[in-house]
Amino acid sequence: MQELDNLALLLEQGQMQSVTTLTQQLLDAGIPPQVILNEGLIAGMAVVGKKMRDGEMYLPEVLQAAGAMQAALKLLKPHLLRDGVPSRGTVLIGTVKGDMHDIGKNLVATMLQGAGFDIIDLGVNVSPEKFVQAVEAHKPAIVGLSAMLTTTMLTMKPTIEALRAAGSDVKVIVGGAPVNQNFADQIGADGFARDAVLAVERVKQLIDIVP
């Protein structure tokens, strides 16, 4: 559908006003909200993610697109809820205890939001106990752990152990400058991603969403 392609293109260009206007027009024309979401907005953000990965878009442009996506989602949300369309899932994310770095974690959260996930961001310096409490309260599909220091990455393991000790089998994905796949395997994480774009792909794989 041409209008949905246009919506995806406007989103890619980060034109928030045009994106929200067209989203409203599509809703008014009776296009199902799930179709607008999947074939317009998420399709547009998928292009944005690919262009970012390929070095064709800078972060400010990506975030502008993500902002347009959020604005359009605000319009769609009541319709999606009314139609009983389930969320793609909730991702609970935080930087582990002892670590104050949040840029990487924020980027991952933004890209996941852009891909249609609900995000609960616990912030920085998050203790294992706080992760456990938040998992019990929000029942996320995925927990994302971030660390930037070689001394704080080691806190990821006790965090995962605390989740398992509390009886949670939530899938855990880890990332951050000193972290790699080998480390993720060693500490019992379910996934690792080296950047925000790959984090979205990995989260989708972990909860069996076809990209």
């Binding site: 104050m100 912030g123 070689t150 080691l154």
Partner: protein, 457 residues
């Protein structure tokens, strides 16, 4: 009483050279910096390991091992002088006694090195700025501030010779503005918020250093301009933006010197050349021999005006040759031999030209570090009446330099970079000329991110 720099200490490029500063600094065990030689500044950190109270003996053992290595390797490499930098990890600042004990260990080894081998040396200690633990950060009160100041005091009385910090005031706004490429927010963070926090913090650091007879080294825009540099390295931000951020960041780092710091500036403060031009103080820099810590597009040019040459940071792990800190000390030692032989043979200007020309045309971030760019940016800064206008002037001068260089084909800029340079120039051109107007404007946009009281606003 704060010093206000109204003229440049070094206003001609031939005088802006590595190994020579207008105001050499003597410190530690017989070491004088910026007096005709470049010395290595070795920085090191722990390998991947738990850092808590139960593991302290293992932590201290690493620094003991590094201290022994310094004694052995400095003699083996026949170093003319050495600065070792101990950069505290956050828990070492949260528990000031831990950082103080490591300071004592390292200082004792340097003392022995000087006593037994006659090698002049000094220990720089850099507590972590842990005040951003809360959001928004509480910068002027609270336990994190107490710990930071206690850390300075205890390290100062445990054998430190030079004290520095990478302070974080304004970072909460800068991070957000940087990610969105919002030059207004960047200038506000660097020119309004950061300088206010620098004054608050550096008045206290300088007082501690003066009381204990130590050298107040300097600060670094690491959390600002180096964050931009790393995001550019990953293709996430245009390089022209990072270059402008670098130039603008010099003002907040200069504030330490207005408060009484004397250098050597911090190694990761790539804005150091501007500091040197304005103040005449010796500077520490890092580039190609810091690739153990991070990559950069300024590997050679960063050395063009340095007085200390650093590796940024390396983990104490084993390599085929030996320990990684020893391997990097050897790299730095050979780099410094080249600087120093060039100075002795009267070839320093030519060597500097090689360092500059090998990088400058390839990256906007390198171009703003040429001696000519440095003087131009420094001149723009000292002509202004407050930190906001100084920051704005530095950023605008960087844009003019990059525009001219691209036009003259002295700098390779692709079309995306060129578009961003236009966008940045337009944003800077539209900013208010009154600081009060800027504060009112930015308070609306970023007021939710920062605590006004933390900046005396």
């Amino acid at each position: 009483m704060h010093h206000s720099f109204k003229t440049l200490a070094v206003s001609e490029t031939p005088q802006l050279l590595f190994g020579r500063s207008l105001k050499p600094v003597s410190c530690g065990f017989g070491l004088t910096l910026g007096n005709g030689e470049v010395f290595p500044e070795l920085n090191f950190t722990l390998p991947t390991m738990v850092l808590d109270a139960r593991n302290l003996s293992a932590v201290f053992a690493h620094y003991e091992e590094i201290g022994l290595m310094l004694e052995r390797a400095a003699a083996r490499l026949k170093l003319p002088g050495l600065v070792a930098e101990f950069e505290l990890l956050p828990p070492m600042t949260e528990h000031p006694a831990w950082g103080a004990e490591i300071t004592r260990i390292l200082s004792q080894h340097l003392q022995k090195l000087h006593a037994e081998c006659g090698i002049p040396c000094a220990l720089r200690v850099t507590p972590t700025d842990i005040r951003d633990v809360t959001k928004p950060p509480e910068l002027r009160s609270g336990i994190p501030l107490e710990r930071v100041l206690q850390s300075f005091e205890q390290c100062a009385s445990s054998g430190a010779h030079i004290m520095s910090i990478e302070s974080v005031g304004g970072k909460e706004v800068h991070d957000e503005a940087l990610l969105y490429g919002d030059i207004d927010g960047i200038i506000f963070a660097l020119g309004v918020l950061a300088p206010r926090d620098m004054v608050f913090l550096w008045d206290r650091i300088v007082a501690i250093c003066r009381r204990d007879g130590l050298v107040a080294g300097g600060d670094s825009a690491c959390g600002f301009a180096n964050t931009a540099m790393q995001l550019s390295a990953q293709g996430m931000l245009p390089e022209v933006l990072s270059a402008v951020v670098r130039a603008a960041s010099a003002v907040r780092s200069l504030v330490a010197f207005e408060c009484g710091a004397v250098g050597p500036s911090k190694d990761c403060a790539y804005e150091g050349p501007v500091i040197k031009a304005v103040t005449g103080a010796p500077i520490s820099m890092e580039g190609k021999s810091a690739s153990c810590a991070h990559f950069s597009p300024v590997g050679n040019i960063a050395a063009a005006m340095c007085d200390l040459w650093s590796n940024e940071s390396v983990q104490n792990v084993r390599l085929l040759s030996g320990s990684a800190p020893e391997a990097y000390l050897e790299l730095l030692a050979y780099d410094c031999r080249l600087f120093n032989v060039a100075l002795k043979l009267g070839s320093a200007s030519h060597y500097q030209q090689l360092l500059v020309n090998s990088d400058a045309h390839l990256s906007p971030q390198a171009y703003v570090l040429t001696p000519i760019s440095t003087i131009r940016i420094a001149k723009a800064i000292v002509g202004q009446s407050n930190h906001y206008l100084m920051t704005l002037a530095a950023a605008r001068e960087a844009v003019v330099l990059l525009e001219s260089a691209a036009k003259a084909k002295e700098l390779d800029l692709n079309s995306r970079e060129a578009d961003w340079l236009i966008r940045i120039a337009e944003s800077l051109g539209a900013l208010p000329s009154e600081e009060g107007q800027m504060i009112a404007l930015m308070d609306e946009r970023y007021g939710h991110l920062y605590d006004r009281g933390s900046y005396g606003l």
